[in-house]
Amino acid sequence: MVPDRFKWMSEKLPFWLRFVSPLYGDIVLSIRMRFARNLKGHNFPLFIDEEKKVKIFNLIKDALFSIDKLKNLKIYEIGELERIEKDFLVERHLISRDLLREGKGSGLAIDMDERISIMVNEEDHLRIQVFYPGFMFEEAFMRIMEIDDLVGSTLEYAYNGRYGFLTSCLSNVGTGFRVSCLLHLPVSFISGRIQDIFKFAASSDVTVRGYYGEGSEVMGNIFQFSSLRTFGKSEEDILSNFKNVVYRIIDIEKEEREKFFKNSRDFIEDRVMRTIGIIKSAKFLSSREVMEYASHLRLAAGMNILNINIEKINEIMLLNQPAHIQILFGKIMEEKERDKFRGILIRTRLNLS
């Protein structure tokens, strides 16, 4: 049996996937920002025992409950969650894989709309994160600044004038600020321009990773870009540098799409129709396969070749993941069985049966 603790969450889409911005929504999936913070007077989490962690966990929990704007957050301790639930939270990008290894005294606080996720006692006492759709950088930035202001005025952070906010790892010291986004770059990938993008990003203090899902392969032509350095630049400058990099990448992908569309419209149409054919008739669909198909559909929808909402495709990209399938159907399943139920789920959601 699957516990139904996260049923409420599985039955709806997070804000960052539900709202597709008319602006670059076909390329930018989501953005995320985070602050790494520690409490003054307590050793960092990697070095403390469970008892101490529980104490800090409760301290933070009480503080969050005492803040009017944050008291509706739902708080979970990692130790009380089943394996499947933890995987579910990772698939939803709400927590890191590192947090999974923790138990008592580590956890997370999330809001109903999944705009906020605060990880407690991961590498630092607090990892305050916000998630927003499309190109809503300013909304996200205002929000995370506000949350940090509120928490930092309730609990005292470890900070000094020389180094800023003090973190367990020196790669996060200073602002503790990181901004990242998921970009869908199918055509740059096919054409090879992706290499220019990687080089350009690296030279601008931005790192690239894949959208790690099952098997940790890069899937669905979705790439995660993140700002790298946290010290020496203000939060605002880190954000504006990052935005400029993202603008440039969007421009490249758009350029490539235009060329591709002009030269290969038949190819795209053919691929989309084949994809729909497979989804309609396949008995088993693997998660990796579905991410590839979703990528084709997403591209076609963005180029108005296919009359389907990008929201629908986003939904599939989220729900098709293994823990999601099991939570949605309410039972623990082996891979083959999941693949069967995945087919059913996707046909239903896309009205293709």
């Binding site: 003054k40 020196l170 290499q195 350095r229 010290f231």
Partner: protein
């Protein structure tokens, strides 16, 4: 019968291959089966050497008499240099000048810029207004009308707030 060997990582040839990764070499897409460590480094064809600065671990030539300890938490300098993780906020002072050197090597900067914190935050309404006005200019210049409209709403909200 020959027992089938477990696939080894194609990069380090030591660990078990657990991850499939696509990398680019000479403009070609290549699929590799790697262990988790190598995948982390190789994924997306960017090796950390070129893009990610790595926190340097330098446990090597520290003589025993040069080792020191953070009086607040008891972490030894040699342990810190091995882990590159700190145990408490006071380690920052205890392990100078190593701290400032590592920070400089990684972040290429020696001066902190960012939010000012004195146990509480100063009101930052002016800061928020500045960020939003800049973004609004940017949106107008780029003819991003939907975004500009959203930013105007946001600006109004901050302007009408009490400044806390």
């Amino acid at each position: 019968m020959i027992e089938k060997k477990e696939n080894l990582c194609e990069k380090c040839k030591e660990n078990k291959a657990e991850v499939k990764v696509i990398i680019f070499e000479g403009g070609k897409k290549i699929k590799l089966e790697l262990c988790k460590n190598c995948a982390e480094k190789e994924s997306m064809g960017i090796s950390p050497v070129s893009s990610l600065p790595v926190l340097k671990k330098e446990p090597s030539h520290l003589k025993q008499e040069e080792d020191s300890v953070c009086l607040n938490c008891g972490l030894k300098l040699s342990e810190f240099l091995k882990l590159v993780k700190l145990k408490c906020e006071k380690c920052y002072e205890s392990f100078e000048p190593h701290i400032s050197k590592i920070i400089f090597d990684y972040h290429k900067a020696s001066e902190y810029k960012g939010k000012v914190y004195k146990g509480v935050y100063e009101p930052n309404r002016e800061f928020k207004l500045r960020v939003l006005r800049r973004a609004l200019d940017e949106a107008i210049k780029r003819e991003e009308f939907e975004r500009a409209a959203r930013l105007r709403d946001l600006l109004k909200e901050v302007e009408e707030s009490d400044g806390s």
